[in-house]
């Protein structure tokens, strides 16, 4: 028997790692992977809650998250490729023209 809070803490740790990765990483692909890490952390809490509340809807949610993640990966990676073609870099610190 594992307390629900343990699952949630694990999920929180993964999410926080994702946030940290987003903050400290410069490579746009790694940043993207950090987002996936956050999504995975959230998925874990969905499944844990599904088990805890005996509601399969939580697992259904995970599927939708995965679908969205897949769509996001497809579009995001395409954008990354386009950015790389245009600017020859993957460093987000150097892709900062979108401002006033």
């Amino acid at each position: 028997m594992v307390p629900l809070s343990d699952y949630l803490v694990l999920s929180g740790i993964l999410f926080a790692c994702g946030v940290a990765g987003f903050l400290i990483k410069r490579n746009i692909i790694t940043i993207f992977m950090s987002i996936e890490l956050m999504l995975n952390g959230v998925n874990l809490s969905f499944v844990a809650f599904a088990a805890h509340w005996h509601a399969l809807a939580g697992q259904i949610f995970v599927f939708f998250v995965m679908v969205v993640a897949a769509a996001e990966a497809a579009v995001g990676l395409a954008i990354i490729i386009a950015v790389y073609r245009a600017r020859e870099t993957l460093n987000v610190d150097q892709v900062n023209l979108l401002k006033l």
């Binding site: 746009i28 940043i31 610190d93 401002k99």
Partner: protein, 650 residues
């Protein structure tokens, strides 16, 4: 239970006509526009007639629920219609006279470039007027009330390129606002005290209440406030000033809106609220005094006017005063009776005046007319009937209703009767003055080819304008119908027939009137007829046999005549007392002070502040993805901390 009457069709039909003409009229031919207007207004009349015939066998009011409107707590107002014997009278007058005037307008307005616009407005007016009449609550009635005000404004200012027409429209609108203000406050008081605006609910709660004494009771307050509203709409002292100016509108409009229907809305409203007024004697007295004074006051002004339509306008004000006098003495059915007959003969008078104006090519000054009876015999005949009717010559319509009112007034207080009778005399005098100046004597008009007005009549240029000529048949037909109604319309009042008809509404509170009739009534009737004939004779003497006399009398009266000629300087007084200070205050305080300094400056300061703030804040938009992420993380932390502090999920 009465079968479903589908009353909603009656107002909606003219609305449909207005919509069709308004949206598609510009591109349509005149025939199409007039067909649409006539078909829809005629259909409304026909449907009203069938509905009334199906309704009449029953005594109980008929209600028709259409839709929710406002539901706020216990307070509820619905779109619902109400038909009782009072609304029946109004309904038939509005749709019937309205339809006739539509027909008349087809001829009168034929040459106007904005033909479709006129009929669109006219149908719109019918829609709102019918809403007003058929509403089952004060709020829906108020919608109609405001709507007819709008339609009136649009139609007065129909020739809006003319300065006087535009400002007359504005004047009507603004003066009406003052009355509406009172009306609205009255409605608020009703909500406060009775929690409803539906007629039946309000009246049910009022029925058991006793008669109020003094001025402090809610019913008195409500009554006086409603009277203020009625004063605005029905042009009573002190808010009558807009009606004479409203004559700037096309003549059919003057006939329909400013004589037959809209201006009587105030009377209708007071009669509709009779339950309130009957329990508020002070308010009732106010109604009576206002009505009586207006009747006399307006009549005296009418004596000196030379513009044919202005005379009729003051006459309308005066006649409305009669109606209020009737209501004020508790004779609501008499007031409504006079309302109906007045609709016939005053509508007829206006249409006749329109026909006259049409005949002489747009001229409105009676001094330039004269001798027209040979040129336009049909108009003359119908006008003669109408004049006799309004003057109270038996057995025409006006005699019966006016006599009824005077008799009720005498019963309440002889002073009313005295003033009323004098007014009747003056009325008779100025109406016959109008008739004699217009139709007797020699034609003093010049052969006009250029009439200053952008009137519908400028089509005459095509066939030249030498002699005055009779109007087309489409205009004469309504005249004849209305003349017939003016002739016989009063007969329904014999043996109090009209009162009995309205008994389901006002109750049979007149047994006294029937029993105590006898000699006094006959005597009074005789006196009033005598007064009328005296007016006729005086007018004949002054304007036919000895036409030099009026000028002499005017000279001898001096300043008083000047005052009467200038309508007692009331407009000037209002301008000095209300308008000018208002304009000054608005200019200095509101415009220069509040608008410029406070509002403009605060807006400018806000914009400047926003710009300065943005200058600082925009550094946040660095274009760096990770910085954005940093702000998001910090924001999320703040939200989480706040929610933790609130104890969410505890």
């Amino acid at each position: 239970m009465t079968p479903n009457l589908n009353l909603w069709l009656i107002p909606v039909l003219p609305l449909a006509g207005a919509a069709i003409n308004g949206f598609f009229g510009r591109k349509s031919s005149r025939t199409a526009v007039s067909t649409v207007a006539l078909v829809f207004s005629g259909a409304a009349f026909a449907w009203a007639l069938t509905s009334v015939l199906r309704f009449l066998p029953s005594e109980a009011p008929y209600q028709e629920y259409l839709a929710h409107w406002i539901r706020a707590g216990n307070f509820a107002v619905d779109f619902a219609l109400y038909l009782d014997h009072l609304s029946v009278v109004m309904l038939l007058v509005v749709t019937g006279v309205g339809f006739l005037i539509h027909i008349y307008s087809v001829g009168y307005m034929w040459e106007d470039p904005s033909y479709y616009r006129f009929f669109c407005y006219l149908n719109l007016f019918l829609f709102f007027m019918l809403t007003l009449v058929l509403a089952n609550n004060y709020l829906l009635m108020f919608i109609g009330w405001e709507g007819v005000g709008l339609a009136s404004y649009l139609l007065i200012g129909f020739w809006f390129t003319k300065d006087s027409a535009a400002s007359a429209g504005k004047k009507a609108f603004i003066v009406n606002r003052i009355g509406d203000f009172g009306f609205l406050i009255g409605l608020f008081l009703l909500i406060q005290h009775f929690g409803s605006l539906t007629f039946t609910q309000v009246f049910e709660q009022i029925q058991p209440l006793g008669v109020e004494n003094g001025t402090s009771g809610p019913l008195t307050a409500v009554g006086i406030l409603l009277m203020v509203g009625a004063c605005g709409k029905s042009a009573q002292i002190p808010l009558y000033v807009w009606l004479p100016d409203a004559m700037e509108g096309p003549t059919p409009v003057s006939a329909l809106i400013h004589a037959a229907t809209m201006v009587t809305a105030g009377v209708y409203m007071v009669a509709r609220s009779h339950v309130i007024f009957e329990r508020a004697p002070i308010a009732l007295t106010v109604v009576a005094i206002v009505g009586t004074l207006t009747a006399l006051f307006a009549a005296t002004i009418g004596v000196a006017q030379t513009d044919i339509k202005k005379v009729l306008a003051y006459s309308t004000v005066s006649q409305l005063g009669y109606m209020f006098m009737a209501c004020g003495v508790g004779a609501f059915s008499a007031g409504i009776f006079h309302l109906m007959t007045h609709a016939f003969f005053k509508g007829l008078l206006f249409l006749g005046a329109g026909s006259v104006i049409h005949a002489v090519g747009g001229e409105q000054d009676m001094r330039k007319m004269g001798g027209l009876k040979t040129y336009i015999p049909v108009t003359f005949t119908t006008m003669l009937i109408a004049t006799c009717a309004i003057a109270g010559i038996p057995p025409l319509a006006g005699f019966w209703s006016k006599d009824e009112i005077l008799w009720k007034a005498y019963e309440a207080n002889p002073v009313y009767w005295v003033i009323g009778a004098i007014t009747a005399f003056i009325t008779s005098f100025y109406m016959f003055r109008l008739l004699f100046m217009t139709f007797w004597g020699d034609y003093k008009g010049i052969s006009v080819d250029d009439h200053g007005h952008a009137h519908a009549t400028h089509g005459h240029e095509e066939h030249g304008h030498g002699e005055p000529h009779e109007s087309p048949r489409v205009m004469l037909f309504p005249l004849i119908v209305l003349a017939f109604l003016s002739l016989v319309g009063g007969l329904v009042g014999i043996h109090n027939g009209f009162e009995h008809f309205l008994e389901p509404v006002f109750g049979s509170e007149f047994p006294k009137a029937v029993t105590s009739g006898g000699n006094t009534e006959w005597l009074l009737m005789g006196v009033s007829v005598l007064f009328s004939i005296a007016g006729l004779v005086l007018a004949y003497v002054l304007y036919v046999s000895k036409p030099y006399l009026p000028q002499r009398i005017a000279d001898s009266l001096g300043n008083f005549y000047e005052a009467v000629l200038h309508k007692y300087y009331v407009d000037e007084l209002y301008a000095a007392v209300f308008v000018k200070p208002l304009v000054n205050a608005s200019t200095t305080v509101l415009w220069q002070g509040v608008d410029r300094k406070v509002i403009d400056n605060s807006i400018n300061d806000a914009a400047d502040g926003a710009r300065h703030l943005s200058d600082e804040v925009r550094h946040m938009q660095s274009g760096n993805l990770r910085s954005y992420a940093g702000w998001i993380a910090a924001g999320a932390a703040i939200v989480i901390a706040y929610m933790t502090w609130l104890g969410v999920g505890r």
